[in-house]
């Protein structure tokens, strides 16, 4: 995870044929590459797509996926929606915040902990997503093991 160069961002914009209606897709690609939308990209996107900075800023602020702060190296999302609540996701979330010594939305020790509202894995609740991969039937022991594996992969 790092900031992106102007050249990289121009390349991404070109991949989408510099079409302004692809702004959400372009931002999604930026986030998939570097984890967030660094503030200096907003002006460049506005310039190259011929949009106002307010337009771009509005879109960045609107969508949950477009983080405006740099996340940790690992992103852990815990589903908070109803099906997972029915299987103890609130308790799992408490366990996670206690174990990681952080709250939802926080970043510490290279981990960003986020809520997510449904991963579509509702027959295997509770579900979590770690670095873009979905895991099901996650109890506290499995959560700890998944975190160990995540750190072991560094």
């Amino acid at each position: 995870m790092a900031n992106m160069t102007r050249t990289t961002i121009s390349e991404i914009i070109a991949e989408f044929d510099t079409r302004p209606e692809m702004l959400v897709q372009i931002l999604q690609r930026i986030v998939s590459r570097c984890g967030w939308v660094p503030p200096e990209t907003i002006r460049q996107l506005a310039d190259e797509l011929n949009l106002s900075r307010a337009d771009v800023h509005g879109v960045v602020e609107y969508y949950h996926d477009f983080r405006t702060e740099e996340p940790g190296e690992h992103i852990v999302k815990i589903c908070q929606a109803e099906a997972c609540q029915a299987m103890g996701s609130r308790k799992l979330t408490e366990h996670a915040t206690r174990t990681l010594a952080m709250s939802l939305h926080d970043t510490a020790n290279d981990v960003t902990l986020e809520p997510v509202y449904c991963l579509g894995n509702c027959a295997c609740s509770p579900a979590v997503m770690i670095d873009g991969k979905t895991y099901g039937r996650v109890d506290e022991a499995r959560f700890d093991a998944l975190l160990d594996a995540m750190r072991g992969s560094d």
Partner: protein
Amino acid sequence: MARTKIYVPRETAAVSVGADEVALAIAQTAKKTATDIELIRNGSWGATWLEPLVEVEVDGTRIAYGNVGADDVAGMFEAGLINGGEHERRLGPIDEIPWLINQDRWTFWRCGLINPLSIEDFELHQGFKALEKAFADGAEAVLETVADSGLRGRGGAGFPTGIKWRTVADAPGDQKYIACNADEGDSGTFSDRILMEGDPFGLIESMAIAGLAVGASKGYIYLRSEYPLTHSILSRAIASARDAGWLGNNIKDSGFDFDIELHLGAGSYVCGEETAMLESLEGKKGLVRTKPPLPAISGLFGAPTVVNNVVTLASVANIINLGGERYAAMGVDRSKGTLAFQLAGNIKRGGLVEKSFGVTLRELIEDWGGGTASGRPVKAVQVGGPLGAYIPVEQLDTPMDYEAFIEIGAMIGHGGIVVFDDTADMARLARFAMEFCAIESCGKCTPCRIGSTRGVEIIDKMIGDDNKGDQYDLLVDLCDTMEDASLCAMGGMTPYPVRSVLKYFAEDFASFKES
């Protein structure tokens, strides 16, 4: 000896509980034991409770093994997996499992059966037959067949698909669009995902049929970003269809042009609302539009647009193949055909059950679902996602039928069924409904944007026993305002789960403890 086919699903739920590790173990064990196998990554049959579900083909019969872990694989090979040998994980032939064969598979029949990324396999299983028939019969015949089928929108609103398509076909304009809503954000739903991961060409074919019927040369799929595996499968399928000449200009010399662009959402629930989705497809904030105009008249980039859910569209190919009457013969009253019910939450046998309308909630939860996973009594069932009412056990005999559900103040929505056992704190779930609305509201209309936050505050006071009587009246009044004055279902239906808790589970407000 021919190579033995072994199937291991590459589908989000199966992979989330270890299917990739199982596939790897099978490949490694086969190599070590010099066993000649062909490992096929199929979609899921929808029996999520049995995942990872491994099948081995023996003399044309697929023998299933359920809940297989990577550490089971060596033992399964020793027990003669290749010949369908006896093992504690063995379930028997896949086509004899009652949970699967007692369903009415119309839309999902290829899911699990085929290799989702093999266009040859798809064509061996009726693939593109419906599109060829549509080329031969013409747009008017397709429109009539879809109208005859009685198919209604499976995204939740239940609007008749035939009428929507006819409206777009009749609307003036050179450029028209098909916009497939794959922003499956409701908790407890995953049928779109299972379809796209298990039969992506089926969706592509049906979208092309829709394009032919209404005169659209371009389709969009708006896929939620929470489905990365689906995105990978779908984008590969679209590329293969293009390479094989099933997408693009002059498809198979029919003179018909149609292509599909895949867009990713960005974590906004309200973008599942059709007009917010169109805004997002245009690269903007997902703000709900006022209606009219309807998207069928003025939709994407102002052009006439068919906005349909994945399952709605995917149901069309078989309707063209088998006829509208045949589809309409299933179901009850005005709820024709089948729905993919999704059993989720605290349920023993969760997964996807495609069944004709008219099946009762109790049959789905008890006969298919086997009751709760915890073994405790069912307390409440939320049907139709976070905007659906919490249904008490006394109403479990309600048949799955759009109108019957409206009568009890509930909705079928996208067919998600989330079960809660008797430990569920309903006051907390009512609070969550308002909280979720506050987090996800697009902010365009006041009742939703402000009402949801006020709703959380009022419920907090009720829970804290602060002047409960007055707060109750205030909450009912707020629900009225949100229902009557919100622009879309987000604010307009958030009161449904809240009111249902007040009506059936009011006693839970006394027991709340903030943790």
